[in-house]
């Protein structure tokens, strides 16, 4: 038995480790380093209806154990992704999560409808939480009713399961999670980045051209773990956890908190081989901890709470 094999709504994965959206492009660059077929899945860069250039540079800034980014959803647009990126990815034996973004409901719906027809797209990841887009973006991710409506509309048109990516920049993450579950979401992915800023000491100005950006990396892991711990106890759909994962210990921590799979973002920039390395090390770590199958430990931190 493969101790890493997992089943999620709409897809069966050879392992629970996948690169997070926006940290892996459409895979081309990383295919120089390894065969992408080893991955559990790939979450591709956000796709919007129109081609987008995104924000001005600088678009990244380092922070203590973290980084800020304000890429601004740069992507080749629905047509570009359907024509050039997804077909290229077909040569790998790996399911794709298509990260769907937009400025208005119609954009999301149109992208979801079309991209969910691509043969290797096995699930959508509804990005209602990108902090770096001025129009709309963030509101979808912070008002439960709005998130619910959007999720419903996307569910109506999608040919594949829909996962909703939650923003951590909210007072009540459980409320958001329940709203999208009610709307029919098949799963959750969390967390997106925390809104942050860094100011340059010489110029007195924010380093990012967009001024604020999204905080990712190890710094945010405790916030992500806490949110997954809270949400996983209150919903009945699986969670793909992310935020600062660098080691197999981090993966185990996410599972204990309540995640059923994990995604690796920022760490890909530090070590392009991080995903295959973690996939390789994970069975050993499980053996060391006397865990037969990774699914056993989903939510262990709260399932054992009253033992």
């Amino acid at each position: 038995m493969n101790p890493l094999q997992i089943e999620l709504p709409g897809l069966s994965l050879k392992n629970p480790v996948m690169p997070a959206s926006g940290c892996f492009g459409f895979g081309r660059e990383f295919s120089q380093f390894y065969d992408l077929s080893v991955l559990g899945a790939i979450m591709i860069k956000a796709t919007t209806f129109e081609t987008r250039f995104g924000n001005q540079t600088p678009r990244v800034a380092e922070t203590p154990a973290g980084m800020l980014n304000a890429i601004g959803l740069q992507n080749p647009g629905l047509k570009g992704v359907l024509t050039n990126e997804l077909p290229w990815l077909e040569k790998f034996d790996v399911p794709i999560f298509a990260n769907v973004a937009g400025s208005q409901v119609e954009d999301y719906v149109e992208v979801a409808k079309e991209i969910s027809k691509a043969p290797n797209v096995k699930a959508l990841e509804l990005n209602i939480s990108c902090p770096n887009v001025k129009t709309g973006g963030i509101a979808f991710g912070t008002i439960p009713e709005v998130a619910k409506e959007l999720t419903k509309k996307v569910k109506n048109v999608s040919e594949v399961p829909v996962y909703v990516k939650l923003s951590p920049n909210v007072t009540n993450i459980v409320e958001m999670a329940k709203a999208v579950e009610d709307a029919g979401a098949d799963g959750l992915t969390m967390i997106n980045t925390l809104l942050g800023m860094r100011i340059d000491i010489r110029s007195g100005q924010p380093i990012l051209a967009n001024r604020t950006g999204g905080l990712s990396g190890p710094a945010i892991k405790p916030v992500a773990i806490r949110m997954i711990y809270e949400v996983s106890q209150q919903v009945n759909i699986p969670i793909i956890g992310m935020g600062g994962i660098q080691h197999t210990d981090d993966i185990i921590e996410y599972f204990y908190a309540g995640a059923s799979a994990v995604a690796i973002g920022t760490a890909n920039f530090v070590d392009p081989l991080i995903c295959p390395t973690l996939i390789k090390e994970l069975p050993e770590k499980l053996a060391e901890l006397k865990i037969d199958h990774i699914s056993e430990i989903v939510g262990r931190s709260w399932k054992n709470e009253y033992l």
Partner: protein, 259 residues
């Protein structure tokens, strides 16, 4: 091919105020060919500093399996790098990006190499390679002050070398552009690397000339995946075309991208 390797530090020397010369050895050197390419360095294995640091390759010695890097220790990452001693290992990813093309010039033609501050290092390998093709090289190097200047003798061995310093403590007082005008330098092709204002001034003045600029941008991945380092393409009315400094650059033909 781009790879990661734990390279061994052969030597680390302070060569000017705040400026270090670092010599690294490893198989990765086999992959390194083009002047202007860079490496992406992980200064330690901790969570901070989190990101790698991009540093240009200043020279390559295939025979010794070494590369030389020259960098300014200023922020957190480079200061930690400066503490490393010979014998220690350091994780290097590279070679990254496309270097300066050296095929445009014929033997006997003249290349003007203009560097500013920590933009100077990649020009050294470039100068070596141009010279080995019989191309004449002239260097104009700008620094803040005499005490922050470096490699002047080495450049002088390869061709005429002019210096400009902001405080006038060495060479022409002012910027590299002042030195170029003062010396009325003629050339067939311009190669330059340094701070943005310098690149802009050169592009403006020598718009009609052939030339290449090497662009610095804040980077995360260094391999073209994160889109941190993009720039707009010139003459693109859609404003949606772009180049990535890390993988399409860092060297661009003058006028190709908006800087």
């Amino acid at each position: 091919m781009i790879r990661q390797e734990d390279m061994t530090i052969i030597s680390q020397k302070l060569i000017a105020t705040g400026i270090y010369e670092l010599i690294l050895k490893g198989n990765l050197v086999n992959e390194m060919e083009h002047p202007g390419q860079f490496v992406h360095i992980r200064v330690n294995q901790q969570v901070a500093p989190l990101l790698r640091r991009p540093i240009s390759i200043a020279t390559v010695r295939q025979d010794l399996q070494t590369i030389t890097l020259i960098y300014r220790a200023e922020g957190e990452g480079t200061s930690l790098l400066a503490e490393k001693k010979s014998g220690e290992k350091i994780n290097v990813m590279g070679p990254l990006g496309n270097g300066f093309p050296t095929d445009d010039l014929r033997k006997g033609q003249t290349a003007l190499l203009v560097g500013g501050g920590i933009g100077v290092p990649p020009l050294y390998e470039l100068s070596l390679q141009l010279r080995s093709k019989g191309i004449e090289v002239i260097h104009v190097l700008g620094f803040e002050s005499a005490e922050k200047s470096f490699y002047l003798e080495k450049f002088s061995e390869l061709g005429k070398t002019y210096v400009a310093t902001v405080d006038g403590s060495l060479g022409t007082k002012g910027f590299v552009t002042d030195a170029i005008e003062q010396e009325q330098i003629n050339f067939d092709c311009l190669y330059t690397c340094g701070p943005l204002p310098m690149l802009r001034a050169l592009e403006e003045r020598y718009a009609s000339k052939q030339g290449y600029i090497s662009l610095e941008q804040r980077m995360a991945c260094g391999i073209g995946a994160c889109l941190a380092c993009v720039c707009h393409v010139a003459d693109d009315p859609t404003k949606k075309k772009y180049r990535k400094a890390c993988s399409d650059g860092p060297v661009f033909r003058m006028g190709e991208v908006i800087i």
